[in-house]
């Protein structure tokens, strides 16, 4: 362990099927290239000037029907390849079920990782083999891209957006992590390692990490220290909505729309509070854009999410 493997292994559920498509494409395109190059070569030799090859009347089949034939053939082939490639992706289009969430924040020029238990890493990501993990990705400055070649996956990390990347490692080992979107001077130094451990080793690894507050505890502290609690908690019910039980449910807005309180809504409400005002409240909350960094936003969102979950548990939802 620890040594990075040079030959690119297949270390995720996607890797095998992506490589299958890749191999299929390599075979098909090699055949087409050989066909074109072969025909050009054969014609070039056979019909070089002065050769004895017959140049008589063109055979009857050599006309626009032939053209129609190869147009339809390539069209059909290309659509078939599309369908084959697309068949892999429909799983990704299904709304994700709740999986373990690991947060990653990209900034010039490092990756900051936070596990749900509060364990933190820089430029390293430890994962348990065989489990589905949702990486929740945010950027603190410019666009980065989280790329693990051994998993055949990458996802851009875009400031102002929360992007997600679902991964399920299938093989223990240590793999390269790259930033794949150009992000400035030290772009090529923004690299790290992904360490996939057996479940037992992962549990051991988690337990020996320094005790950090978990994300929602950290968020709770911010909630108080940044003054959120002054309006969103206690008796001041009139000025601002209470947040218990909000996460995951519908929120009626002042303009008549209803939105779902997901990560993006919570985040937007902190940064652009006048965008989607809850019905019955005045738009008096100030924006916290610039006052909170990405890590703090992630923590606050985690805290508000935990308020929603506690409520769900209390009413008999799944824990």
């Amino acid at each position: 362990m620890g040594e990075i493997e040079i030959i690119l292994p297949q270390a995720s559920v996607e890797a095998g099927s992506t490589d299958g498509k890749l191999l299929g494409l390599i075979i098909i395109s090699s055949l087409i290239t050989l066909l074109v190059a072969g025909l050009v070569g054969i014609f070039a030799i056979r019909y070089r000037k002065g050769s004895k090859a017959s140049r008589g009347r063109l055979p009857a089949w050599f006309d626009s029907d032939l053209e129609l034939g190869w147009t339809l053939a390539t069209g059909g082939l290309f659509v078939a390849i599309f369908a084959w490639a697309a068949s892999q992706d429909f799983a990704l289009a299904v709304p994700p079920q709740r999986a373990t969430e690991v947060h990653a924040v990209g900034k010039q020029w490092m990756w900051k990782i936070e596990h749900p238990g509060g364990q933190r890493e820089i430029n390293e990501l430890h994962l348990p083999v065989g489990e589905t993990i949702d990486l929740v990705l945010n950027s603190q400055d410019v666009i980065h891209s989280f790329y693990i070649p051994a998993f055949r996956l990458k996802q851009d990390v875009v400031p102002g957006h929360t992007t997600r990347m679902r991964i399920r490692p299938t093989r223990t080992g240590t793999y390269r992590l790259f930033c794949a979107e150009y992000c400035g001077s030290e772009h090529s130094a923004m690299i790290g390692r992904v360490v996939v451990l057996s479940k037992e080793a992962y549990a051991d690894w988690l337990s020996i990490q320094p005790e950090g507050d978990d994300l929602s505890t950290e968020g709770r502290q911010l909630f108080v220290s940044r003054g959120c609690a002054g309006c969103h908690e206690g008796s001041s019910k009139v000025r601002a909505p209470r947040l218990e039980g909000v996460f995951g449910g519908p929120v009626p807005l002042a303009d008549g729309r209803t939105v779902t309180a997901d990560d993006a809504y919570i985040r937007d409400s902190i940064l652009q509070p006048k965008k989607d005002v809850v019905a019955g409240f005045a738009p008096i909350m100030p924006s916290f854009a610039g006052a909170l960094d990405e890590g703090e936003l992630v923590a606050l969102t985690a805290y508000i999410r935990s308020l929603g979950r506690r409520d769900a548990t209390a009413t008999g939802g799944t824990p």
């Binding site: 494409l25 410019v142 070649p149």
Partner: protein, 552 residues
């Protein structure tokens, strides 16, 4: 003026040509001022040839620095910022000041009126203004380079370019913005010329395919370049005035930039390849002595690429977090746009069938184009497949893919056309053996440079890396070695073409026994192109008799 037997399949080379009453366009006036104020489309073509050659060697020098740096895994030749500025310079200069103008504005300018039997383009003064806009834009880019460079990559992705880069982003963007007007003006000029300047008898489906290719290209130039102007204006506005358009800190959206940028830049890829397709068609038919196979299909394929090319931009954004449904739609359309490209490849191949093929340098370049364009196009299908792109996006696979199209395709086609029409442009023959050696060296050097990059991408090497892990080195060494050969091959034409201007054998009016109208006039042509009205009754691809009515 002896009449050329235009419909004769065994057209003979007209060696000497009678002395002309009117001086040719090169000898008409000699002063520098006469060149800088000329409205003669042929002279403006020469001005563009000089400026694009200048930019090609600036961009090429940057490429040499990139390949030298990547010879070793450590970033030891350039600093990281230095490297970032060099690859940005390479991209900006090569895309906007070489690839976009090179065929439409050099060969297109020179040939479109000649091929149509016209005296000039529709708007000669606008044509000269296009050149000035292009070099003023290029001047800004060079100024930015001399003032310390720009480090955003040619794609200018926000918010890096608007809020984080400490380099000359605005200056460069202004340069590209100005050169965009040059592109638009060239597009307008070509479209109006094709619509209004064709002589009686030159119907739409009698035009050479090179004219069709420039026409299709001009449509894209006219419709897509304004979007580039808009996105660059927004970028400069955000950067200089701090307005929130793309920067999320002020409520903007970085993804909006990508949509606008690729809505221009994907069609721009077709601006950079369709003219090459036109050149190759003229060259292959001439040296195979065959009528082009499927003329009308070739026309419709050009137009189909031009139209569908506007609807595939989202395939640059599969990893951006866009909806999977959007990605699949763009993926499907990207596969569809490959079909007309495949038609063109098969039709070029079929044109060789039962020909009388000779292998002049232009033909070697054209055959190289067919092979390299095929590989570039097919590897595009890899990137159009969503799952494969999630792995390959922003790796060296993409770099290899678009260099197969841009360099293996477009640059090969430009050299094919430059050699093919060199006798017409200059009145002199270039040395054939040297040219053949250069063509073969280029093909070999190109493949050695870029084929290893497919493998690099496959094993996960990201683009725009100044330093890289050791396991990638072997492929980078091969690539850098290829680049040395390629650089030498690119220098060769500079010398032997210059040599031919003075010592080259005088070319007759039609050294290749070709069938375009441009070959009916003297080499070099007189100021007003034709001394007598050209005979447009002939078939431009009458290289073999049409025996069968279905035989196009």
């Amino acid at each position: 003026m002896s009449d050329i037997p235009f419909r004769d399949v065994d057209l003979e080379e007209d060696e000497a040509g009678p002395s002309t009453a009117e001086a040719n366009y090169l000898e008409e006036r000699f002063s520098l001022w006469s060149w800088l104020t000329t409205t003669d489309h042929k002279r403006i073509g020469i001005l563009y040839l000089i400026s694009t050659t200048f930019f090609f060697f600036i961009g090429g020098a940057a490429a040499v620095l990139i390949r030298l740096e990547l010879f070793t895994p450590a970033g030891d030749l350039l600093t990281d910022d230095g490297y970032n500025k060099v690859f940005t310079l390479h991209g900006v200069v090569m895309v906007w000041f070489f690839l976009v103008p090179v065929i439409p504005s050099v060969l297109g300018n020179f040939l479109i009126p000649l091929m149509l039997g016209a005296k000039d383009l529709a708007f000669p003064r606008l044509n000269l203004a296009s050149w000035y806009l292009n070099i003023i834009g290029g001047g800004f880019a060079v100024w930015a380079m001399l003032a310390g460079g720009v480090d955003t990559g040619w794609t200018f992705y926000t918010p890096y370019s608007t809020a984080f880069a400490n380099s000359h982003v605005s200056l460069t963007a202004i340069g590209v913005f100005i050169s965009g007007f040059s592109t638009i003006a060239t597009g307008v000029n070509m479209i109006v010329t094709v619509h209004t300047m064709r002589p009686a008898g030159m119907g739409w489906f009698r035009m050479p395919l090179f004219v069709w290719a420039i026409y299709a290209t001009s449509l894209i130039m006219l419709l897509s370049t304004p979007v580039l102007a808009i996105v660059l204006t927004l970028l400069i506005t955000e950067r200089l005035l701090g307005l929130g358009i793309f920067n999320p800190e002020y409520g903007g959206d970085p993804i909006l930039f990508q949509h606008l940028f690729w809505f221009y830049s994907h069609p721009a890829v077709y601006i950079m390849i369709l003219p090459g397709m036109g050149v190759v068609t003229e060259v292959i038919t001439c040296f195979a002595r065959r009528r082009v196979f499927g003329y009308k299909a070739m026309v419709y394929a050009l137009l189909a690429i031009a139209v569908i090319g506007f609807f595939v931009w989202g395939h640059h954004m599969f990893t951006s977090g866009q909806s999977m449904y959007a990605s699949l739609t763009f993926s499907f359309l990207s596969f569809i746009v490959a079909v007309p490209s495949a038609i063109k490849v098969f039709n070029w191949t079929a044109t060789l069938y039962r020909g009388q093929i000779t292998f002049e340098a232009s033909m070697l370049y054209a055959m190289g184009f067919v092979g390299l364009f095929t590989m570039g196009g097919l590897t595009g299908l890899f990137l159009a497949s969503v799952p494969v792109d999630l792995h390959m996006h922003d790796t060296y696979f993409v770099v290899a893919h678009f260099h197969y199209i841009m360099v293996g395709g477009m640059v090969s086609a430009f050299f094919a056309g430059l050699h093919f029409w060199w006798p017409k442009i200059t009145g002199r023959m270039y040395p054939e053996t040297a040219a053949r050696i250069a063509a073969m060296l280029m093909f070999f050097g190109f493949n050695l440079t870029f084929f290893p990059q497919f493998i690099l991408g496959n094993i996960g090497m990201p683009r725009r890396y100044h330093a890289y892990p050791d396991e990638f080195q072997v492929w980078h060494v091969l690539s850098s070695a290829g680049a040395v050969i390629l650089a030498a091959a690119y220098l060769m034409p500079l010398f032997y073409l210059a040599w031919s201007l003075i010592w080259g054998r005088k070319a007759g009016r039609n050294p290749w026994r070709a069938h375009g109208l441009e070959w009916q006039t003297t080499s070099p042509p007189p100021k007003h192109n034709f001394l007598a009205n050209p005979d447009v009754s002939g078939d431009v691809y009458a290289y073999h008799p049409r025996r069968n009515p279905r035989d196009e």
